[in-house]
Symmetry: C2
Subunit: 128 residues, 2 copies
Amino acid sequence: MNIGEVAERTGLPAKTIRYYEDIGLVTPAREANSYRVFSEIDAHKLQFLGRARALGFSIEDCRNLLALWEDQDRASADVRAIAQEHLDEIEAKIKGLTEMRNTLADLVQSCAGDKRPDCPILKGLEGP
Amino acid sequence: MNIGEVAERTGLPAKTIRYYEDIGLVTPAREANSYRVFSEIDAHKLQFLGRARALGFSIEDCRNLLALWEDQDRASADVRAIAQEHLDEIEAKIKGLTEMRNTLADLVQSCAGDKRPDCPILKGLEGP
DNA sequence: CTTGACCTTCCCATAACTGGAACCCCTATG
DNA sequence: CATAGGGGTTCCAGTTATGGGAAGGTCAAG
């Protein structure tokens, strides 16, 4: 199938798929007219990539996961290590964002939000 | 004061401060030897920027907040609107990350993590 | 005088795309 | 048959907010 069809099937933009080819994540065949031809396997790989990216795995993580996915002899522990590491990163991000949110929510709460120039948010941003 | 001192005082890397000058967030004076000279006001602005960035405000948000900070006649509502919008963004991010974490935690949990090639994480990534 | 710590500008690189220009290919229609 | 449209192709540049490093000027101390 051509790039448009695989884009629709996987939900990935064509641009992104070309980019994934550029960096070697997929290697579709070519027709005589230089159009890319995607096999079912290519489409499946792209599906996999889309899901993994949606779960926040980096491209490099995806490359590793894809290699493991294609390796019939992989150990599930290898996959789990990548996923666990990523899980830890996500939890750290959530923690940081939650702190941010709390600080910011305090500032917003303390602000009257009226026409007066006095603003506790700006004061809060000046420093502790 | 020179860039090194202001960097130490604000906790921002000198590189970042030069970048902030580049994009017009601060405009330090220059000495005859072309060294930047930062006033107390410049240092205070950078402090403000550092805090706002640490709370995840984008550079453009910072630019707006800085303008409001310098405007004696601003209405606190203007500031609050920016902060509230950013707060909403942060909460959306937290929500998305939390969903990610839950999905991923399920996958990790279901994986034996041993030497067998059978891996539910990869299966989960293939699609629903 | 030299050493070392500063400072300067300039250019390149990151992650993961996205947009746009300029151009080729194929088919359907007036 | 010309053309309009909707594919496709490559390549180049831009995005965010810096970080790295080269090549070189400046300054205070020993």
